[in-house]
Structure formats: structure tokens, C-alpha cells
Symmetry: C2
Subunit: 105 residues, 2 copies
């Protein structure tokens, strides 16, 4: 068993997303991204099998998709996307995001 305290171990940066690799195994990869208000994980995709979840732990923003898709995102929201489907996130407030990718990229 391995515990990670995301609040203690990852902060925020004016220079861009603050990224923490929480876990990487043959089963899944888990990443924590912290956004200052206004920062964005640009819409992207990878042409491979698998899915990811994006869980908002704190803050508000929008999940982004193909074209102009923007889905309101707040603490307690979970988005599921194929890895091959365009996805991203824009933060309206300081925001903590947990991303789980299976199988790991």
C-alpha cells in the first residue's frame, strides 16, 4: 500500500500546470495536475486503446472536447473519455485534477 497526500506534495505554479506523477504500473497511470485560475490542459488525444478518468478534487472550470465542446466541471465531477477522443480542461478558479489512464500510456 502506498499513500500520496496530493495537498502536501503538489502546489500551484504561475508558470504553468503543476504536475505530479502519483503512480505508474502495468495497470494504470495516475497523475495530479494543479491549475491556477485561467490555466488550461489543451485538448489532445492519442490514437491508442484505453480510457481515462478526470476527477476534479477542488475548484471550478470546464472539461474540453472536440471543437467547441465545454462541459462545466467542479469538485466531485468525474469525466470519462476514450484516450483516442479529444479531451482537455480549462480552470476558472485554482483547481486540482486527478487523471487515471488505463492501460497506462
Amino acid at each position: 500500500m502506498k499513500k500520496t497526500d496530493l495537498i502536501a506534495e503538489n502546489g500551484f505554479s504561475e508558470g504553468g500546470l503543476s504536475r505530479l506523477l502519483v503512480h505508474d504500473s502495468p495497470y494504470f497511470k495516475i497523475l495530479n495536475f494543479n491549475f491556477k485560475a485561467g490555466q488550461e490542459l489543451p485538448v489532445h488525444s492519442h490514437d491508442i486503446e484505453g480510457q481515462l478518468s478526470m476527477t476534479v478534487l477542488e475548484g471550478e472550470g470546464e472539461f474540453l472536447g472536440e471543437g467547441d465542446v465545454a462541459i462545466p466541471a467542479k469538485a466531485g465531477d468525474v469525466l470519462i473519455s476514450d484516450i483516442a477522443e479529444p479531451h482537455g480542461l480549462r480552470a476558472h478558479s485554482d483547481l486540482r485534477l486527478l487523471v487515471t489512464i488505463a492501460p497506462p500510456i
Copy 2:
């Protein structure tokens, strides 16, 4: 893309854990368990390959392991465990937990 609003879609129950299946696919299974203070997910394990993550979204408690293992758990904490390793959780306050299992059981 599919969004689940855990706050709106799952509440708390005096009768026991309140369980919401968030997602189930060939890649991972995602479950949300809400605990009233004092409720517990008893220590258990399954003798199969794979790992799980337990993310505390709100509240405080303890991650439980084999024997007397009890690791403090609070919002923003992520625990990784093999599925075959004994794991559980005890809530000290009302607590929202997100569990991701890969590959899905």
C-alpha cells in the same frame, strides 16, 4: 465523453455505505462510496491480478490494511493497493471515496 456529478448523484445513508457505479469498461471500474461518520468498508482482498486506487474526495478517516494497519486518510489522499492485498476504509466524518479498479473486477 461522459460526466458524472458525484455530489448530485450519490448521497449518504444511515443504513450503510451509499454506493454508485460511476463506470465499468474493459479498462477500469470506478465506484463512489459515501460513508456516514463511523461507517466502514471492511478489510477485504481478491486473489486476482491488478491494482486499485482509493481517493478521498471529502472527509476524514483511515485507510485500513492487514492486521492493525490504519493510515490516516483525508481529502486529497490517494491510496494504491494491489487487489490481492487486504484494504478497507473507516470514516471518522462523513466521507466521499472514489475507487478505481484496473483491470475491472
